[in-house]
Subunit: 188 residues, 2 copies
Amino acid sequence: MHQIRKYLETFSPMRNSDWDYYSSKLQCVTFQKKELLLKKGQTENFLSFVEEGTLRMYFPKIENDLTFGFVFKNQFISGYDSFLTQVPCTYQIEALSKTTVWRISHADLNDIYTNTEIGNEIGRKNAERLFLIKSSRELSLLELTAKERYQNLFSERPQLIKEIPLKYIASYIGITPQALSRIRRQVS
Amino acid sequence: MHQIRKYLETFSPMRNSDWDYYSSKLQCVTFQKKELLLKKGQTENFLSFVEEGTLRMYFPKIENDLTFGFVFKNQFISGYDSFLTQVPCTYQIEALSKTTVWRISHADLNDIYTNTEIGNEIGRKNAERLFLIKSSRELSLLELTAKERYQNLFSERPQLIKEIPLKYIASYIGITPQALSRIRRQVS
DNA sequence: CGCCGAGTTGAACTGAATCAAGAAACGTGG
DNA sequence: CCACGTTTCTTGATTCAGTTCAACTCGGCG
């Protein structure tokens, strides 16, 4: 659990009292492989910190899911759109391996924003970070080829290619599994 | 200038004292058509609110610029990546028409975060909004065809197509001007 | 008037999708 | 621990959207 504090303090140092208040709201939950943390149509009620495991975020489709993100150990995850706007989510979050998270409810997080000094500051910096990540993803989708996106992914997260089914990676970089297979043949 | 307060209060109501503090830091600047608000290589020092005019954000390229965003009247604009991280910007911001903005410096905004109660809350909600916008753009780039992206743009912002050179719109939806020309022939 | 950038159109080419089939890996129950 | 069925991955053939290169038109502006 102390990994969460460490993560939050990459934004701003926290007083012990703020941390105690925050951590008192946390709930520990474990999901089995293939279990859903969030189902399409549900309204996201939690912001979760991944203690152990790997997750994927995707739009379920008849034929092939559209996978748009992976989340690893020591990162936050949520159906953010739904969490922030409190409308039903249009995508799903699935555990790719047995996963343990510490999570806080929407109502409790709002209490923290209201009752702590640091809450909004950390929340702001976290949202800014998420924005920067999406911005660089937008750029990658606009200016790079599928091959370049694959190679970047490979150099940034070599373990990802080993742990995660290629069809999800293909979807993430915006191509079909067949096309990814051909790219991999060329590269390696 | 009161439009800024209106915009900020879509996030949270402000006390007059907070608004007075914020607005005392604002500086009004006007840019001519084709003038740059931010040049590649510069570190962004301002968060600007567009009182009048239209802007585009783009990566300058030898042959064709990569335009990734437009900003209109009554919206904020900044080289966010550079503004937030204070490293040199990799893209540029250009006025597409004569543009007037009210802007606040990075240092002054940090003062506001430090010295007002509402600053971080509004900042958080604004960053969350920016994140949601980028998220929906990511989805559009992954799952829609160029034709669908054009049609969506057209239905969301019909005036955009009239005011903005098609080559920038083509780049924004991720295709060449030639391809956009052919799509437009099919559609209209 | 002539120039220049924006937009359109045509033809050839290319990366990726689609359809289809086979091979490898995986998980589950016997 | 193996056998079987299912899922994942690969490979081939065809099709298609969009790129590239090139030529031409149009409108605005010096």
